[in-house]
């Protein structure tokens, strides 16, 4: 592929490892961004972002306009969802969602009316006059999440502002096949830069660096052009050599600053904040036009895709509609995301989400995923390829043997699941799958542990309560008995004489009773004797 001759404006550092897979990018970045006809129904996944599931606020049968809020945040770590087009809500039910599990989850199903009519948009008149909180609130209300792949709610990422000195705009897009960020920059560089400007206004004295791989010469030209026109000379271009996975957050930081994000720390701890170009574009739209995030640029590609390219696709558009609209052949394998980090969809009736940057409609044998895994030969190629300087081989052994604590000792959770190790593995071992298995098992175990801890607390609290109730009851009885005794004693003291007389009377009565009972006992004995005689 063509490489840009542009010399980076900031020094570029090295990252360990990395691979150079075939790029397959020219297939989808040769045509302009297009639109497809609307689907018959949109399936909007309420858990389409990192964090909590959004809460639906519309009812079945309700008519909605494009951009209208259809689901609210559940707490701060969540996102608003807006109607991607005008139409009617026809169901709120469980549908297969875009998730590697292929499980069902709550979705809002919207039937478009074809008018695509916007609701009234509340755009802010002057961004310059808005204070930090107002800008953040606008980003929050417009449902903006990170469009790089993790869908992390942007307002949370932007919240921390102490000590942040550099904003990095991630345009590296290192994964093969995907070209949506590239095309977005080629056609909308101005808007992206304006979005970056809005973000930079949230901080004091911040440097802006755009990190981009040198395999996007047109996008680099477009950025330069836009920068000149907008007179934003403060924005620096950092052009990094093409190598997968230079677009990973930690990897791009290392490439552009030479610093490694330490284990268990965030980029913000180093004074850095990173946003994807798509996110910048969305923030620009949210603030200048008041448009919520209702669609995104998606790369449709793969050998079976008949019209590969980049398309603006409303959220919730089912993948089978995309296959039909591009007159593509039924894909052998349907991948959401890139070939390295994406996952296979169980079937095509899955709505796209905010994180969907690419759909690969692959032909038979295109992705080479069918090779049988052979035993590990301890060649160490994975170690050389690991961009996080881990020991993939050791992680593999421990994950395979369910020795999760040992895997954690080898920093399993620093693995970014880029797949470079599995790519170079001569034995075709699905290494990343082993790591994912280990990670998800460890996470589940932690949750179970917490639950057990809670159950123990409740059990102990209950035991304690039962003890206490028993003790209190005993105490009450004791007190009552004492009170009775005391009352009796006091009564006795007051009227000792009367008591003496009564006692005497009682004695007499007792004697009489005793005599009577003696007599009756004698009678009884007699009759008993008779009986026993009779028996004999």
């Amino acid at each position: 592929m063509e490489r840009s001759s542009f010399v980076s404006e900031i020094p570029i550092y090295e990252i360990p490892g990395g691979i150079h897979p075939e790029e397959h990018k020219t297939r989808s970045n040769q045509t302009n961004i297009r639109r497809l006809p609307l689907a018959n129904e949109l399936v909007i996944n309420l858990k389409g972002q990192a964090g909590n599931r959004s809460i639906p606020i519309v009812e079945v049968g309700e008519a909605v306009l494009k951009g209208q809020v259809i689901a609210e945040c559940d707490g701060i770590f969540s996102a608003y969802q807006h109607a991607p087009t005008s139409g009617t809500i026809i169901a709120i039910e469980k549908r297969t969602i875009a998730h590697p599990s292929g499980l069902d989850d709550l979705c809002i199903v919207l039937k478009p009316d074809g008018d695509d009519q916007w609701c009234e948009l509340t755009s802010s008149s002057n961004i310059e006059e808005m204070d930090r909180e107002a800008v953040l609130a606008q980003i929050f209300e417009k449902g903006v999440v990170g469009l790089g792949g993790a869908s992390f709610p942007s307002h949370i990422k932007l919240k921390q502002h102490e000590g942040v000195h550099t904003l990095i705009i991630n345009a590296a897009e290192c994964e093969p096949y995907i070209t949506c960020d590239d095309k977005l920059l080629q056609e909308h560089a101005k808007e992206v830069l304006l979005g970056a400007e809005i973000i930079s206004k949230l901080y004091q004295d911040i440097n802006i660096v755009i990190g981009i791989e040198d395999n996007k010469p047109q996008a680099i030209d477009a950025i330069q052009q836009a920068r000149k026109e907008l007179e934003l000379s403060n924005i620096k271009l950092g052009v990094v050599p093409t190598k997968y996975p230079s677009g990973g957050e930690k990897q791009l930081i290392q490439l552009l600053t030479g610093k490694e994000v330490p284990h268990g720390k965030l980029p913000a701890d180093l004074g850095l904040i990173m946003h994807n170009v798509g996110t910048c574009y969305a923030i620009h739209l949210a603030l200048t036009e008041g448009k919520p995030l209702v669609e995104r640029l998606v790369t449709l590609t793969g050998d079976n895709c008949k019209e590969p390219g980049n398309y603006w696709i409303p959220f919730g558009t089912p993948v089978d509609h995309l296959i039909k609209a591009t007159q593509s052949d039924t894909p052998k394998r349907l991948i959401m995301g890139g070939p390295m980090m994406g996952y296979e969809l169980p079937h095509a009736h899955v709505g796209i989400v905010k994180a969907t940057n690419c759909i690969i409609m692959s032909a038979d044998g295109e992705l080479g995923m069918d090779q049988t895994a052979l035993p590990c030969i301890r060649c160490g190629a994975c170690m050389d390829a690991c961009p996080a300087s881990l020991l993939p081989q050791q992680l593999y052994w421990h994950a395979q043997a369910d020795e999760f604590d040992k895997a954690e000792e080898y920093d399993l959770f620093d693995c970014i699941e880029c797949g470079a190790c599995a790519y170079v593995c001569p034995s075709h071992i699905p290494l990343v799958q082993h790591y994912r298995y280990a990670k998800s098992t460890i996470r589940n175990n932690r949750v179970e542990k917490l639950k057990a801890e809670k159950a123990r607390e409740r059990y102990e609290a209950r035991q304690e309560r039962l003890e206490r109730v028993k003790r209190e009851k005993a105490e009450r009885h004791r007190k009552a008995a004492e009170a009775r005794k005391k009352a009796a004693e006091e009564a006795g003291k007051k009227d000792a004489k009367k008591a003496a007389v009564q006692a005497a009377l009682a004695r007499v009565q007792a004697k009489k009773k005793a005599q009577q009972s003696d007599e009756s006992a004698a009678d009884k004995n007699q009759s008993d004797d008779n009986h026993s005689e009779g028996n004999n």
Binding site: K47, I97, H99, P100, S101, L103, D105, T372, A373, P375, Q400, P430, Q433, H434, R436, Y437, K439, S440, T441, R443, N444, V447, E448, K451, A452, E453, K454, A455, R456, R458, Y459, E460, A461, R462, Q463
Partner: protein, 188 residues
């Protein structure tokens, strides 16, 4: 003379160290048996009593006193293995008499049929059932350990044990197949 000096020095040393040890044994005394705590950590805390003890803690104490480690079906094989690792004992199969390992489930009260007798509330070891006399009861799903203990006392049989469905948050990746590929050769 040398002999006496040596004896005195040794005696003094003995006294000093003895005193130090005695002091340490009082000062750093460990309350309770730490091994019981560690065993209790491993047990699943369902408090179901399938082991024959009235809860997980009593069973932990019993294990520390030498009882078998295979009496906890909710802990499953993994639990037995963890206990064996901790205590340096042999891994043994689960005691079938105690029941079998079941998928995680919770109690569910069919609320229309509940007569409000509070019997299940009294049986629940973790106070996960809410209700009052002559009023409907219900299970707090997040707190229920799936111990089964409320099913038996219910006079109208309106409690079911329902398996927890898999959700996005409880889902985990499967371990890739580790089978050695087998090729069938044609018989010659």
């Amino acid at each position: 003379m040398d002999l006496i000096t040596a004896v005195i020095i040794l005696a003094v040393l003995g006294l000093v160290f003895g005193g130090l040890l005695g002091f340490a044994s009082i000062k750093f005394k460990v309350d309770g048996d730490p091994i019981v705590e560690q065993i209790d950590e491993i047990l699943p805390q369902t408090q179901c009593g399938q082991c024959g003890y009235p809860g997980c803690k009593p069973y932990a104490e019993a294990i520390a006193n030498g009882d078998e480690i295979n009496k906890c079906p909710p802990g499953g094989e993994a639990g037995v293995k963890a206990l064996a690792d901790l205590l340096g004992r042999e891994v043994i199969p689960l005691d079938e008499e105690r029941g079998e390992e079941k998928p995680p489930s919770v109690a569910y009260i069919r609320e229309d049929e509940c007569i409000g007798c509070t019997k299940c509330i009294q049986a629940c070891p973790v106070d996960a059932i809410l209700g009052a006399p002559k009023l409907m009861h219900t299970v707090i799903i997040d707190e229920c350990t799936g111990c089964d203990l409320c099913v038996e006392p219910c006079p109208v049989d309106c409690i079911d044990m329902v398996e927890l469905p898999q959700t996005i948050s409880s889902w985990k990746w499967q371990q890739p197949d580790q089978m050695i590929p087998v090729k069938e050769l044609e018989a010659s």
